[in-house]
Amino acid sequence: MQAMVRKEFRQLRRDRRTLALMIVVPLLLLVVFGYVARFDVKEIPTALLGTQAEALAGMLPEPFAVTIVDPEGSRETAEDLLRRSRVIIAVIAEAPPTLLVDGSELFATQSARAAVAGLGGLPTGAVDVEVLFNPELSTAAIMVPALIGMVLTAVGTVITSLGVVRERQEGTLEQLAVMPLRPRDVIVGKIAPYFLVGIVDMAVITAAGLLLFDVPFRGSWPVFIAGSILFLLAVLGMGVLISTLSQTQGEAIQLAIMTMLPQVMLSGMIFPLTSMPWGVRWISYLLPLTYFIQIVRGVFLKATPIDALGIPFLALAALALVVLGLAVLRFRRDLAPAGHRREPSPEPEAAT
């Protein structure tokens, strides 16, 4: 038994990736997620509209952070600002004041309600609080659209991450390398079937989400489909990139899992981005799921128009381009190594 334990330790010492997964990653996750795992929202972007807007601007306590003051603004203006996610709270500063809250921001809504209830000196009902888009504050309405992205990330990244590495392990990658194929032909060829399956997958889980959990869909289908296509390209590209970085299918799955956890924790799916410190929040903005969640929650619940989703669309397109570009570059090393001078480790004895 001692010999077995010793052998396992020796193998583990040489398997740096597993060692990292077992020691470094948990520590990193604990530190990062420790800062992230909080539901209390310290700062809620707020708009003040109406004739009393300017007078009220300096009076609102925390967590309200006034970012827009518009004395000309009306209720329509307020709803539009919320629909476009410019703010989470819009106060119509008339008598009596009305506080419109974006119900798709569950925790911000709860914090806002608590803050209003705690305002001293106000008689009950003095402020009219109205929750828009998700008046019942249904968790399913918030989570199901995000889960569509989560499921697609899991399926897309893990399955495509096995694609190239399987060719490498089975010896067919070398055969591809002597065929007159360009690296981008191979990448596109690898992704296309998974992309189509991903689209079908998306349709099925979206239909299931809408039917089973009674989630509303108020926005535009073309916007949702366009966002889904960009998101799929980004997650499939990430899978292929992982595949080009791995030597075995086991390594590929390890890496895929390593990329999955941050997406779950940092994308805003569970914990609101606004409650994350900037030291961690910047990671969220590198993750495709963050932008997809902004698109789907907006489209499903708020009928957010496409011109208000410019940043998430652009970010998804840029991420897809970057991961696919990196995958092609990495793949060139396998398929057209003549252009890449590197010093690999010696080949196995039997291979010479």
């Binding site: 067919t172 055969q175 390398a177 007159p180 190594p337 590197r342 010093e343 080949e347």
Partner: protein, 280 residues
């Protein structure tokens, strides 16, 4: 015309030199065998020729050009591992390969059926690999131990096909450590420790190398005596052969052990020449 022209080809992996200063030319219509033991550098040399590995020094030209996507169109390659998709059928493998080269797919070899290729016997899998490599009519065929693990009759058929290709003008480069395969080549290049240590026909490779042949009724005693004296011996039937050994040294070793034997000197075989080259 030179299908392959490699000059001073060298490949280092860190401090280890896998291939050192190798010159190799393969003309169209010619079958050249690169022979060597495991670790001799054959596969590394072949991978550089195919453009799968960049040389540390030296250069390769295929049809007068550096390895590129264009030269790949003219190459048919059968790796030792076959490079086929085991979960696809023979026809599906051929169809994919044909599409990659932009030609019509060849018919799958008889008996390969419609099931997954991985379930076929190795001989049939090799036949499919050959069909895939030949269906775009390559001008250069690169084969890595092409008939290892194949039954004699199927092996003969595969060599017939290789000869047909060479007869039609294709250049053929075969890397192998099997003598039977090496003997099929028009010309041999013998490699050891990453260097070329012999070239030409079988007789040129063997050259002046000789072996001491021991005939004795006590062949096991003779074998043990030679081994005990530090003389590398092999058994060939009931004869004990000692490639490159000194006749008198063998006589002394057997005499000391009291093994009755008749000794003679004979030309080394190709295998023995390879072993001697590897030991140099």
């Amino acid at each position: 015309m030179k299908a392959i022209e490699a000059r001073a080809l060298t490949r280092r992996f860190g401090a280890f030199t896998a291939v050192a200063d190798v010159d190799l030319v393969v003309e169209t219509g010619e079958i050249v065998g690169v022979l060597g033991a495991n670790g001799a550098g054959k596969t590394t040399l072949m991978r550089m020729i195919l453009g799968l590995l960049h040389p540390s020094a030296g250069r390769v030209r295929l049809f007068g050009l550096p390895p590129s996507r264009e030269t790949r169109r003219r190459i048919g390659y059968v790796p030792q591992g076959l490079g086929l998709y085991r979960d696809l059928s023979a026809a599906e493998n051929l169809s994919f390969s044909a599409a990659a080269f932009g030609v019509a797919a060849a018919l799958p070899p008889p008996g390969t059926g419609t099931g997954a290729l991985g379930h076929l016997p190795l001989g049939q899998q090799r036949a499919v690999a050959f069909a895939a490599a030949l269906q775009h009519h390559p001008d250069l065929l690169v084969l890595d131990e092409p008939t290892s693990g194949v039954a004699p009759l199927a092996r003969a058929r595969l060599w017939d096909r290789i000869r047909e290709q060479a007869g039609a003008g294709a250049a053929v480069l075969v890397t192998t450590h099997y003598m039977d395969e090496a003997r099929q080549a028009d010309r041999l290049v013998l490699m050891a420790a990453g260097r070329v240590v012999g070239r030409g026909q079988e007789a040129d490779i063997v050259g002046a190398a000789r072996a001491v042949v021991v005939r004795t009724p006590d062949w096991s005693g003779a074998f043990a005596a030679c081994e005990a004296a530090g003389l590398a011996a092999t058994l060939a039937g009931t004869e004990v052969r000692l490639p490159g050994a000194d006749l008198e040294a063998v006589r002394r070793a057997l005499g000391a052990s009291g093994v009755p034997a008749e000794l003679s000197s004979a030309p080394a075989t190709l295998e023995e020449a390879m072993v001697l080259a590897a030991g140099r």
